[in-house]
Symmetry: C2
Subunit: 389 residues, 2 copies
């Protein structure tokens, strides 16, 4: 009898109730109610017309989101890191050089990935509270003659936004492709793939798009596509953009099964894009800029110091804030979570132990949320002071 | 003004209503209602205690599901193909040999992946309506002295189940590791990782577990773990099991952030495992065996021919059926979808144009479903005969 052979006993998995928090770290963000609802839409077979229409909706939404007319746009079935690895492994071959403009922790990840593929990864570093200017980049392009430059648009570990204007032209002048991480910027901060000459971009669903993690939009320019078509190396199967382009019918001529995508995540991404299309990008960017400016102003009025000195370097989706002396970051965050039901994050990488990271984005990007956070922060300052002194 | 710069217009993404079908192909399967509900549970930060408890529940459930006491068990954030690539890329280095016991299309995929990593992939083939015996495998192990044998337990392209008893011992005698694909068998067919000496296994969530695709359980034996710890090659970052083991706290000593997992898919997998624990594996296996036997009997009574001649080679989750002469498979499937709201699949790879593939598994594994399918098939035979003759 089969039952006798079971040697590992049944574990106790009982119902778990968890509190729903207002998620105001650098991500994940809360979901739009419509996105939560979209998660429960019917499961579809990966090879039916209805599914193909969902995929087309997503591709059209992503073209708008990235502001691109490129054909090679789709979503990877994985987190933002899967998008990052897709871009690097498809675009750059072993022994080719990738220049990494490093200012936060995600650039370190790009370095880690690149070395796995035998890519010659070189870095240029600046103080983590600043961003790059074109001259700094040009010096390095001249020096290294890289196949590609990797740069992060919004950096969630430091709370900075990199000005990308002029960078595509500069890279192309030196024969380099421009790769941009927009995980924490896309949707919340202006981004123009075609106008800015970006050759490869990836994003994530759980930040300003207010969707669940697990699906990562990517796009490649015509220039990047040509590089991919000429390549001699093979990327991982799961990330192979040539095969994925066939599954996603990027060229309008084929639908070839590659892997089974996750219907709830597809429905959810589609719905997030619908929410953004309804608002329009310029309005949504404006909303993030206005609310975060209001948030920063109120913080400074109440004695908090912003980590990033220059206003133009500050990211509209994630703000880094220094606490007055004498406070423990962890204790502070716990107090606000337990007493105000708001989740803020501590620093990460270069900002660990040096700042809070506060995300006001997507569905949470409202004046009410901004005010609630400031009020909670003031309250924590008041109540914890007694404990800390 | 920012708004002037938008060059790609807003696409029309409007609400889409799709019909909910009874999904009776080889997967994806419909969801348990409790799993659909679980998808809407709160989003959690990837680094909070509540999330860690969800991860622990999943690991405990997977140990039961795979029948293993190994520490190295977790879920990959991707489809079953991501699980396949995780196992191959972590376990086998360039120039090492992987022997593939090929009888269906998934073995072709394993071959495709292996060659990308410079692995020397060799195959042994048999007619696709049969399964391997130990002697056939032993001959090849002797001949190739491979690092690992890759074999599929349940094969959804042919509808066969491979007997795995004795295979682990045999492989180990020749110094080979045993890798098993359980994507379409796990939960629905008896599987004993430890007792059978399986060294690496991966599965998928959208088959007998009746969850959404997008998360792939994997487990490695102590022997496989030692091989991984000694390896000199680097797998892709996203699939690096050493890093994932730290994120999943497999050794009870650390929680290191690797990537942001998808909370809805984690909640869903946890709930699928809970459903299986409630039923217990022996009962759930018995249910699949009984219902499918009933289904096959009714098919044969009504003049249908089963593709797999030997009863012991037939998979309890997916049945392959030959239509009487004169019917077009595509037309037949479309008729049943449109008139009975049931989705059956045609053949794939070796069975393309030669059989139907009918999945009765997970939440759909009931006598009512089996009968509804048979009745629909009889009805289609009756109504389409007129058109086809």
């Amino acid at each position: 009898m089969l039952s006798k052979k079971v040697t590992v006993p049944v574990p106790r998995i009982t119902d778990r109730k968890v509190r729903k928090l207002l998620l105001c770290g650098p991500g994940p963000c809360n979901l739009w109610p419509s996105v939560t609802e979209a998660l429960t839409q019917p499961i579809l077979s990966p090879l039916c017309d209805e599914y193909f229409r969902i995929m087309e909706d997503i591709r059209n939404g992503l073209k708008y989101l990235f502001q691109t007319q490129t054909d090679l746009v789709l979503a990877i079935s994985g987190s933002g890191h899967a998008g990052m690895e897709t871009v690097i492994s498809n675009l750059i071959g072993p022994k080719e050089t990738m220049l990494i403009a490093r200012r936060g922790i995600w650039d370190e990840r790009a370095l880690n990935m690149a070395t796995r593929y035998g890519i010659n990864a070189v870095e240029v570093r600046i103080p983590f509270t600043t961003t790059f200017n074109l001259e700094q980049i040009e010096d390095e392009l001249q020096k290294w003659k890289p196949t590609a430059l990797f740069i992060t648009h919004g950096d969630s570990s430091t709370g900075t936004v990199q000005n990308l204007q002029g960078l595509g032209n500069l890279c192309h002048r030196y024969g380099a492709l421009l790769i941009v991480d927009t995980v924490v910027s896309i949707g919340g901060v202006p981004f123009f793939m075609d106008d800015w000459g970006v050759d490869a971009v990836y994003a994530s669903s759980q930040k300003a798009l207010s969707g669940p993690a697990g699906i990562s939009p990517v796009a490649f320019s015509k220039r990047a596509e040509m590089k991919i078509n000429r390549r001699k190396h093979q990327p991982p199967f799961y990330f192979d953009i040539k095969m994925l382009a066939q599954q996603w019918n990027c060229y309008g001529n084929t639908r070839v099964y590659h892997h089974t995508m996750s219907p709830p995540l597809m429905w959810a991404l589609r719905r997030s894009l619908q929410e953004i299309c309804t608002r329009t990008l310029p309005m949504f960017w404006e909303q993030h800029a206005t609310i975060t400016a209001h948030f920063c102003k109120r913080l400074e009025q109440n004695g908090f110091e912003l980590l990033i000195p220059k206003a133009e370097d500050r990211l509209a989706t994630v703000t880094t804030v220094i606490l007055p002396k004498g406070y423990d970051y962890k204790e502070y965050i716990t107090y606000i979570r337990d007493n105000h039901n708001i989740l803020l994050f501590g620093g990460l990488g270069p900002t660990a132990g040096k700042s809070l990271r506060i995300g006001i984005m997507g569905v949470n990007c409202t004046r009410e949320t901004a005010d609630a956070i400031v009020n909670a922060m003031i309250d924590a300052l008041k109540n914890l002071k007694k404990c800390s002194l």
